[in-house]
């Protein structure tokens, strides 16, 4: 046993100055600010770029593992998470917890005993989360403590109010560990701890480090699992056990004792709630693998010379008025108590038309002009790029805006490359919240020089659902839709086959039409 005096003599502050990275962070020799803190959840933290670390510095084994955990953050975590948040693939919360899981996995790999990584609050956390019925937080929290000694206590807490959640949460933890083990032993995968930047540029503030793509994939998967509602399914304990034992056979998933399930907890009436995530849903959903993950090119917007005036406006209409010059509605003289016999024009909602101008759409310049003619008063833009494009070259062109349009349509460059950034840009161009946004695309959304990736497609689908984007896949249908919007007729939603397939594959549900 180490005495207090011995503790005082030891300098247990970690040495993050030693850590080598490949993204340019921590490269210049410089001192870190190490601040002692309590060995409690939430107190230790690491900020790579300003070189600050809060860690417990006492001579206990738990403190030592926490120090290793924070050192691992200094080793592998991105200097700035904002570029990852901006990608919009996964939520911030999911990325935080997935990163905890990755770091704990790597700490264990480095030879530290992460089983002792618990601070005694896990059971309370489990109880509180389950009492509130917060399934999403239950999923995120289990990821944060996956692989550590706190997991069992957390699940005990969960079982106090939602016993049906426990096997699912344990399984989620197992799947996370399984995925990390798979990545770790697969030679062609980017190493879990890699801090090489995707672009090769050394800029820890802006560049994406490769190892964190694994975190992002797990986080995106956690977001899917955390989503509610999922179809309920009757619990089948036998199936549960057989699934667990199957995993045990391949030596990967050591199923930990679930004997606490009947051990005096979870006997309350509340505990009979079903789990929001069915076993089938859980097993059918997988994290996106690194080679299946994609990324978009940077969006570069260019406004063409808008030389031609386009009369009219989408949704623009005349309504009766009691003042004016030309009494077009003379019949109202006798029928309308307010005698609104004149007309006045009211502006339409405007709108945005975004055109996927990639090779797969096979649009001619005339097609684009037809769409623009059918969308007077709208902001019309098309986008295309390819893998050879250099930084800064335009890949989204504004063809019409503010009642004017161009006659100079750029040539397609073959690829998509910026579907989602273009979509986000289009959403930002909406003049009003309820202005229509029409996206002319076949749904074959791809990053530059990449194949079709479910991860990227899901990003587009989520934005479409959130911002009420209406999709059409060819010129005739798009013109028809724009005419319907102009006439204020009801419009029908439609999804390309690509999106329908991806959504079904990723969520197990159909896209609503």
């Amino acid at each position: 046993m180490t005495t207090i005096m011995e503790m005082k003599r030891k300098d247990l502050r970690p040495l993050p100055e030693l850590i080598r990275r490949k993204d340019g962070a921590n490269d210049e020799p410089a001192e870190w600010d190490i601040h002692p803190c309590a060995a409690e959840r939430g107190a230790p933290m690491t900020a790579v770029i300003p070189r600050i670390m809060n860690v417990p510095i006492q001579d206990f084994e738990l403190d030592r593992v926490i120090r290793a955990h924070e050192m691992m953050h200094a080793k592998v975590s991105p200097g700035n998470r904002q570029p990852w948040i901006d990608r919009g693939i996964a939520t911030d919360r999911a990325m935080i917890v997935a990163e905890e899981a990755r770091v704990n996995f790597l700490v264990a790999k480095a030879g530290f005993d992460v089983d002792i990584l618990e601070d005694g609050t896990e059971m309370n956390a489990g109880e509180r989360i389950s009492q509130r019925g917060d399934w999403a937080e239950a999923v995120y929290f289990v990821a944060a403590i996956s692989g550590t000694g706190g997991l069992n206590k957390y699940l005990v807490g969960i079982r106090r109010h939602r016993p049906a959640w426990s096997p699912r949460l344990r399984r989620i933890s197992q799947l996370i560990q399984k995925e990390f083990r798979r990545i770790d032993r697969t030679r062609y995968e980017t190493p879990l701890s890699s801090t090489k930047t995707a672009s090769g540029r050394l800029d820890p503030e802006k560049e994406l480090v490769e190892g964190y793509f694994h975190t992002e994939s797990i986080a995106e998967w956690l977001d899917r699992l955390a989503e509610e509602p999922h179809e309920d399914e009757p619990e089948d304990e036998q199936d549960e056990e057989s699934a667990d034992s199957n995993d045990s056979e391949d030596g990967e998933d050591k199923v930990e004792d679930d004997d606490e399930e009947g051990g005096g907890v979870g006997n309350e009436k509340e505990g009979d709630h079903d789990c929001p995530l069915s076993k089938q849903d859980l097993e059918s959903q997988q994290p996106v693998r690194k080679d299946e993950a994609g990324s978009w090119a940077q969006l570069n917007v260019k406004e063409q010379n808008l030389t031609r005036h386009v009369p009219g406006g989408l949704g623009k209409k005349r309504i009766a008025s009691n003042m004016g010059r030309n009494p077009r509605r003379i019949g109202r003289m006798f029928t309308d108590p307010q005698k609104r016999i004149f007309d006045r024009k009211v502006k339409g909602n405007g709108g945005v038309v975004l055109i996927d101008y990639s090779g797969s759409m096979s649009l001619s310049e005339k097609d684009v002009l037809d769409i623009m003619d059918a969308a007077p008063g709208c902001t019309v833009a098309c986008y295309t790029t390819n893998s050879h494009d250099k930084d800064g070259r335009a890949n989204l062109w504004v063809l019409g805006a503010r009642g004017r349009m161009t006659t100079n349509i750029p040539r397609s460059r073959g690829g998509n490359g910026v579907d989602h950034p273009a979509l986000v840009w289009a959403v930002q161009q909406k003049q009003r919240r309820n202005a229509p946004l029409v996206w002319v695309t076949d749904g074959g959304v791809v990053g530059p020089g990449q194949g079709y990736r479910d991860q990227l497609a899901m990003q587009c689908i989520k934005t479409c659902l959130k911002s009420n984007v209406v999709i059409r896949d060819n010129v005739e249908k798009a013109v028809e839709l724009l005419n319907a919007i102009a006439a204020q007729k009801p419009i029908k939603k439609w999804w390309p086959l690509y999106f329908r397939t991806t959504y079904k594959r990723q969520t197990g549900h159909k896209l609503e039409v």
Partner: protein
């Protein structure tokens, strides 16, 4: 030898400055990064280089010279480092490297100011023969100090040394003698403030690790910080 592009920024700066003919340079920064070595060996040192280590107790004897008893009972004049550097090889002036000038006492400091003055102003009368000496062309001075804030240096000194470069990492050539697996650590720990681990400690650690193993070597060299060092290496190598 490293090419200029591969050098750390501070060493690139130093090379650029000496190649441009700047003859009064202050090198400052953490100890053990090779400032003195660079002063003695880098740039135009064909005419020789002389070193002065300043302490509170030193006298002008070390700077300009002094009389020492000779074999025949008389006193012989012995030149100090600054005068030797002024003369250089007789044709061109040499390099004077002044370590820790901030530690010099008042007398010595004043003399050093005179000796490191510009060529036009620098003059010194040799007491042995009454000759007036001036620095020869090519005379240069590199001053080294561990002071971090240049404002702490006297203004007269700062005025004579317009160029100050902070050396924050060891010269790559100095690292080549270390085992490959700890070179980068030695570089990164050179400027870690109060928790700095010097290059000399890394040399000793590398040597000991070969015979005693990493753990024992860390205990012997890093003492209280052995655990922190070994844990950091474990994490770094994951």
């Amino acid at each position: 030898m490293n090419t200029n592009e591969n050098l750390p920024q501070c060493w690139q700066d130093f090379e650029q400055v000496v190649q441009a003919g700047i003859d009064r340079v202050i090198l400052f920064g953490p100890p053990g990064t090779g400032k003195t070595y660079a002063g003695l060996n880098m740039g135009d040192i064909d005419a020789g280089s002389w070193r002065l280590v300043c302490t509170e107790d030193m006298t002008n004897f070390d700077v300009t010279g002094g009389f020492l008893p000779g074999q025949d009972g008389s006193f012989d004049w012995h030149d100090g480092a600054a005068v030797k550097a002024w003369r250089g090889n007789g044709l061109r002036g040499g390099r004077l490297v002044v370590d820790e000038i901030d530690k010099a006492g008042g007398d010595v400091f004043a003399t050093l100011l005179a000796m490191t003055d510009t060529v036009d102003s620098a003059k010194w009368e040799n007491p042995a023969n009454g000759r007036i000496e001036t620095p020869k062309d090519g005379f240069s001075v590199i001053m080294t100090t561990n002071i971090e804030n240049m404002e702490e240096l006297p203004s007269a000194l700062k005025d004579r040394f317009p160029c100050a470069i902070r050396i924050n990492e060891p010269h790559p050539d100095a690292l080549t003698n270390l085992p490959g697996n700890i070179r980068e650590y030695a570089r990164k720990m050179a400027d870690a403030g109060e928790r700095r681990i010097s290059l000399r400690q890394f040399y000793a650690y590398g040597q000991l690790a070969r015979t005693c193993g990493d753990e024992r070597a860390a205990q012997l060299i890093f003492g209280d910080r052995a655990e922190a060092f070994l844990d950091a290496v474990k994490v770094d190598r994951v």
